[in-house]
């Protein structure tokens, strides 16, 4: 009897120890939480240009969701938990109010998918000063230059990066003489500026420049107007700046001379494309599609990378401290895997994520920039966009 008691006692003791171990393991498993906010505003549905592509109103947020899952899969091994809270401000709502009231001091990391003006407005709020904002919406070069903010990192390739990517490809193809066609919007003018900058950088010649002022109605535009519009002196390639896609699609196959179309339509420069499947991209395309029920768009990819960047930095530094993570992200050690071959990192001079730019046609990936042969003393990725000596961003870090 006594011996049975003893062994029972031993058993209980053992059980106790086992339970203690269990408990401490569980605690160790969730010792650090990283709270991430995702901020966006609903968008007005633009007038449909065609019935082919349905308007996608949730671009971005689903990418952030996928990345949170990935972070947490890693987090289960590192004892870190990542929480994503989405703030989707209605069309008539006030983004600043939402930021001040709801995001307040609870979140050190905010993924922002907003237009350029609003992005900087948010960045300048006193509530944003101690935070790290990830701009997953803009492609504006101004925000990465004279209007840069030290608390903002930019995920999407800027217009200059895209224009440089296109220019490198055109240079490789010896399409040296460009016919530049510009839309009527402010964004189109900005992209045209980026294209002009790229032409200069790579020694290309803009032999003709025209602004599209015709109707945007496909039924009458296409055949008549384009043919007349494109009767200009000889050129190698038509380069179009039409970010909203109001007329660019009508140009291809309808130009007076048989010339390829490149820019915002035809062959496009983009951070992500459904035709991309190298470097493991097929896997994330599949994982995204399974979750979202649609292809991954650029903003989804940007939000994915933003949240993954936070995850990667938190895992490597074993920290959730915004300053530590930011220092790590801006250091040489940081390497984000973004399914485009080269490891990605942030440019220390303007917070832009350096990355390859895809050059894609509707159903085939044509090239990935930087194009082979364009060299740079540090990293070939810095042949795209504003390099350190050119940058006008002055950060007081």
């Amino acid at each position: 009897m006594r011996s049975i008691n003893l062994s029972l006692q031993k058993y209980f003791k053992l059980l106790f120890v086992v339970q203690l171990l269990n408990v401490s393991f569980v605690y160790a498993g969730a010792k650090q939480t990283i709270n991430i906010a995702y901020l966006t505003q609903e968008q007005k549905v633009p007038p449909p240009l065609s019935n082919l592509d349905a308007f996608i109103k949730d671009k971005g947020v689903l990418g952030a969701g996928l990345a949170i899952d990935d972070n947490n899969t890693t987090g289960q091994f590192t004892g870190q938990q990542f929480v994503l809270k989405k703030f989707i401000v209605p069309l008539d709502g006030n983004v600043v109010d939402t930021f001040n009231k709801d995001i307040g001091d609870q979140y050190s990391y905010v993924v922002v998918n907003l237009p350029a003006g609003l992005t900087n407005k948010i960045a300048d709020l006193s509530a944003a000063k101690q935070k790290l904002l990830f701009d997953a919406g803009t492609i504006d070069d101004a925000l990465r230059n004279e209007q840069c903010r030290s608390n903002v990192l930019h995920i999407l390739p800027s217009r200059a990066m895209r224009a440089d990517a296109l220019a490198q490809y055109m240079m490789k193809k010896r399409w040296n003489k460009w016919f530049l066609v510009i839309g009527a919007t402010e964004e189109d003018r900005l992209f045209a500026d980026a294209l002009k900058r790229a032409a200069k950088r790579f020694g290309m010649k803009i032999v003709e420049e025209k602004t599209w002022e015709h109707t945007y109605d496909a039924r009458r535009t296409a055949q008549s107007d384009v043919a007349v519009f494109t009767q200009v002196d000889d050129y190698d390639v038509l380069v179009v700046a039409d970010e909203q896609g109001q007329f660019g699609e009508y140009l291809e196959y309808r130009t007076w001379n048989a010339r390829p179309v490149i820019g915002t339509q035809g062959l496009v420069a983009t951070a992500w494309h459904r035709t991309h499947e190298q470097w493991g991209a097929v896997q994330i395309q599949n994982r995204f599609k399974e979750q979202a029920g649609r292809w991954m768009e650029e903003q989804d990819y940007a939000a994915y990378l933003a949240v993954r960047a936070i995850g990667e930095a938190a895992t490597r530094t074993k920290s959730n401290d915004a300053n530590k993570l930011k220092d790590y992200m801006l250091s040489d050690a940081f390497a984000l895997q973004g399914y485009k071959g080269n490891p990605m990192s942030f440019r220390s001079w303007d917070g832009q994520l350096r990355q390859p730019v895809l050059l894609a046609a509707a159903r085939s990936l044509v090239a990935v920039a930087p194009i082979e042969g364009f060299l740079h003393p540090k990293t070939e990725l810095d042949t795209l966009g504003y390099d350190q000596p050119e940058s006008t961003c002055k950060w007081s870090k």
């Binding site: 899969t73 890693t74 091994f77 493991g280 599949n286 895992t315 490597r316 082979e372």
Partner: protein, 320 residues
């Protein structure tokens, strides 16, 4: 002249003395298996195997081949003599890489899309366990002493150390981005891990699970982003290790004692996976985009032959 003749004579003897081994290569885009006589340097035949074959291994008794046919969502068991299918294993979806345990009765599969490692009992042809690992598990290897299964996850950037008996993860080691292939040394003391994105090889100490050395590959005249280390093998005596460098079209020869890179051998394009000959005197490489395999003589450390095999050679296994 006389010397030459003698040389030829010796070469002939050596060639004759070499065992007649067979090299099997999966052809990802041909949906086929190539059968190669490496000594003769000849493609013997190509047999249909299933949709998108990738990972391949041979049983310890050399009787069966296991081939992951990714788009058929299974691992086929192939008779190594007749090359006829004798069974299928429940690998889970889209199997790519897998590892056999030393006893040859269990098979560990990376299920990339589901962040799982599936443990398969070969005899009963059933999945006995699924182990949750990091995002996009890729490389997998079992230690020769049968203690460990190591799994690398490409997006989590970790090596997961799975206890081969309990099938529980015991520890995780953070490694360089996009870890691809893993290889244990024959003494089970080290695990070699390649990182596709950092262009590195990391040597991990099995006891401490820590990285003891990181080797950064640097090939003259090849840009850094082309250096994407994938397959890795280490010889029995731990004298040298070999790493396939992907689109750098080179195999790195590493001194496994000093960890110096001794040489880069130029092989075919996008070199992917590696396998030793049974006597470890030769190394075979699959070259994905030049559609051939390279034969490396390890005594002279030279590439002696390339044999065209078919479209997108992926995995390689050798039967004595």
């Amino acid at each position: 002249m006389r010397k030459n003749v003698l040389g030829l004579f010796i070469a002939a003897i050596l060639t004759g003395a070499a065992q007649a081994e067979t090299v099997f290569v999966t052809l990802e885009k041909d949906n086929a298996l190539a059968v190669v006589d490496p000594i003769a340097g000849k493609l013997i035949k190509t047999v249909e195997i299933g949709q998108r074959p990738r990972g391949i291994a041979i049983s310890p008794d050399n009787k069966f081949l296991y081939v992951a046919v990714s788009d058929d969502n299974t691992i086929k068991i192939i008779d190594a003599e007749t090359l006829k299918e004798t069974g299928r294993l429940p690998s889970g979806e889209d199997p790519e890489t897998f590892a056999l345990n030393p006893a040859g009765d269990k098979l560990y599969v990376s299920n990339e899309d589901d962040s799982l490692v599936t443990v398969i009992d070969i005899k009963h042809k059933n999945a006995v366990k699924q182990i949750k690992v990091g995002v996009e598990p890729e490389g997998i290897a079992t230690s020769p002493d049968n203690n460990w299964v190591a799994s690398s996850s490409e997006t989590t950037n970790m090596v997961h150390w799975i206890d081969a008996k309990t099938h529980a993860i015991v520890e995780n080691t953070l490694v360089d981005p996009r870890p691809r292939a893993l290889g244990f040394t024959a003494d089970s003391q080290q695990l070699w891990v390649t990182s596709e994105m950092a262009g590195t090889l990391m040597i991990l100490d099995v006891k401490t699970k820590q990285i003891i050395k990181t080797i950064k590959f640097d090939v003259q005249g090849v840009s850094a982003d082309k250096i994407q280390p994938v397959g890795v093998v280490i010889d029995k005596d731990r004298k040298r290790g070999y790493v396939a460098l992907g689109p750098a079209n080179r195999v790195a020869v590493i001194n496994a004692q000093t960890f110096e890179v001794e040489k880069y051998l130029l092989v075919g394009q996008r070199v992917w996976n590696l396998a030793f000959s049974p006597d470890q005197k030769r190394l075979y490489t699959t070259n994905g985009t030049s559609n051939d395999i390279s034969l490396i003589d390890l005594e002279t450390q030279t590439v002696t032959k390339s044999v065209g095999v078919g479209t997108y050679p992926w995995g390689v296994a050798v039967k004595p």
